[in-house]
């Protein structure tokens, strides 16, 4: 099995996410033993953000890093584990709310593919970039 980083590199739908991870200096962290649960927004999720949003974040790596770490949770949380709890705490410190009542949703994002296993964790693919505040 590959680690989360290698898995994302091979998937072909995470170009923006991988660039962001690199700019924020989090590449090493994603290849570390973990384990982590990563809610990974696909390229189309980033494309939905209004113009300029990514430009400003890329100019400011610590701020970008904060948004990215909001998408990571310590431990290996499968879809079934997540649906059993109301929320999980992200590495950024804010809560991610889980809603399993209509499909599998986290905050305002829909999980389009769940439970992708990696050496150092598990990946759930999102259709929307999550922001703190809910």
């Amino acid at each position: 099995m590959a680690d989360i980083l290698t898995l994302a590199q091979g998937a072909g739908c995470f170009a923006t996410l991988l660039t962001a991870v690199e700019v924020a200096g989090l590449t090493g962290a994603l290849a570390s033993p973990g384990p982590f649960t990563v809610f990974a927004p696909q390229d189309s999720a980033f494309a939905k953000l209004p113009p300029g949003t990514i430009t400003t974040l890329v100019q400011n790596p610590p701020q970008l890093g904060r948004i990215l770490t909001y998408h990571v949770v310590a431990g290996r949380w499968s879809q079934a584990d997540l649906k059993a709890v109301p929320y999980v705490e992200s590495l950024e410190g804010s809560r991610i709310w889980i809603d399993g009542s209509h499909g599998f949703e986290v905050n305002n994002a829909t999980v389009v593919a769940a439970d992708i296993e990696a050496d150092n964790g598990i990946v759930h693919i999102l259709d929307t970039v999550m922001l703190m505040g809910r």
């Binding site: 953000l49 209004p50 113009p51 300029g52 949003t53 430009t55 400003t56 974040l57 100019q59 400011n60 610590p62 701020q63 970008l64 890093g65 904060r66 948004i67 410190g93 804010s94 209509h102 905050n107 305002n108 922001l131 703190m132 505040g133 809910r134």
Partner: protein, 431 residues
């Protein structure tokens, strides 16, 4: 663009159902009319010019005046800060929001030179109050400081001000700042907490300065777009603000102090604090909604519970203000009205001359226009939060539309109290 609402969920039963349905259709709390559009854009322009002074001076006070115990000249902005390039205007911008220049606005410089009374020494302009009223900006900063913890846990800037790391950064800066002042060092040893609180206040000076550094070019650009005929209605103006909020959401909020030419980082950029979470949202909450009763406007009896027991219930902001009694000398909102009066575009000037008591109640008229314009800014914040935390307005999933509805209804609940001006701004007669 207003979306056609598809009847996927039943109509709201909220008292402000009509406004909620308008928000769900992509509109603003402020009704869409050419008169409203003209008023709000005109006042944004009149607000942006003094704001160009406010943000520069707020940063000057945070970075240079810092803990000066006798800050008599803190409003005397040095040339260096008038020339400070705005990060969101001009050729060198990080992200160019306004097509104009990066240094102080020409109308601001012209007013600073002459004021209303003519060309006089700066000290006379200052003492005669013929100047930009920085006291208004400081009142906003103090509202943010006083309402600390209001946006916890998302506002991490605020929590940081109580950490040992922040205290140690302040300690280093205080020791460097008063290195040649044994009296102040002695006072620091005797009353360290007082100095820490002054540092927190200075950090909020920086916070608000960095917040307004963005808003000034946003408002200048909106004025230019309107002059070119670029906005078709109030929702266009609101959407420009929504896009602006997203575009600069990740801008760092920090506090640097310059002592003997050396930069000391009291709150480093590397903490990851952002414009949206650590400045914009706390600002809207503290200034638009809460603030505090202004001295001299009206007598409140705290024992009779005329002043709320909990800070979260405070409702003295512009969205609730009765502009008429506020219009007295020395009251922060009046100071802003006086500042905006100097920079009204000709079309708004003419509009006020033809209405109410013309010249005589122009401050009140522009105060009410400002209230309308801030309902539009608040609408932009509400729509931006809806987009960031909830769902698109044309989402095909009814559960998502219902979640949007609950969000809008919760926001409108804040205007159920009688002081809210939401219903007043629905009619053009409210002037």
């Amino acid at each position: 663009m207003i979306l056609e609402v598809q009847a996927k969920i039943p109509p709201s039963k909220h008292r402000y159902a009509e406004i909620i349905h308008r928000l769900e259709a992509g509109g603003s709390m402020l009704p869409d009319s050419p008169e409203n559009l003209m008023q709000i854009i005109g006042i944004y322009k009149a607000y942006a010019v003094p704001m160009d002074f406010y943000w520069r001076d707020l940063l000057y006070i945070a970075e240079r005046e810092f803990l000066n115990p006798l800050p008599f000249f803190k409003y005397f902005l040095p040339q260096e800060y008038l020339d400070l390039p705005n990060h969101y205007a001009g050729e060198t911008a990080d992200l160019r929001i306004w097509r104009g220049g990066a240094t102080a606005h020409p109308e601001l410089l012209e007013f600073m030179a002459k004021g209303e009374t003519g060309k006089l020494p700066r000290i006379l302009h200052h003492l005669w109050h013929d100047r930009i009223n920085m006291e208004f900006a400081e009142a906003c900063m103090r509202a943010m400081l006083w309402h600390r913890h209001m946006c916890a846990p998302f506002n991490k800037f605020d929590a940081y001000l109580d950490t040992p790391e922040y205290r140690s950064n302040c300690d280093r800066a205080i020791r460097a700042y008063f290195a040649k002042n044994p009296l102040m060092m002695g006072l620091y040893r005797a009353f360290p907490e007082m100095f820490m609180e002054q540092c927190r206040q200075a950090s909020y000076y920086s916070n608000l300065g960095l917040f307004w550094e963005v808003m000034a070019p946003v408002f200048f650009e909106m004025s230019d777009i309107y002059d070119e005929g670029g906005f078709n209605g109030v929702p266009d103006a609101m959407n420009f603000l929504v896009n602006g909020i997203f575009a600069v959401a990740g801008r760092p909020i920090y506090h640097h102090v310059y002592i003997d030419g050396q930069c000391m980082e009291i709150i480093p950029k590397s903490k990851g604090f952002t414009w949206l979470y650590e400045a914009a949202l706390p600002y809207v909450e503290a200034v638009f909604y809460r603030t505090a009763p202004f001295r001299g406007t009206k007598s409140y009896n705290a024992q009779a519970k005329q002043v709320p027991e909990h800070q979260a219930d405070f409702h003295f902001g512009i969205l609730y203000a009765d502009v008429f009694p506020v219009g007295s000398a020395g009251i922060p909102p009046t100071l802003l009205m006086q500042d905006m009066l100097h920079f009204l575009p000709p079309y708004l000037e003419e509009f006020y001359q033809q209405r109410c008591r013309g010249e005589e109640d122009k401050l009140i008229q522009l105060g009410i226009t400002f209230q309308r314009s801030m309902y539009n800014v608040t609408s932009a914040v509400i729509q931006a939060l809806r987009a960031a935390l909830f769902y698109p307005l044309d989402d095909p999933n009814p559960h998502h539309l219902q979640a949007n509805r609950r969000f809008f209804e919760t926001q409108m609940d804040r205007f159920l109290r009688p002081e809210a001006r939401l219903m007043d701004i629905q009619t053009p007669e409210y002037r």
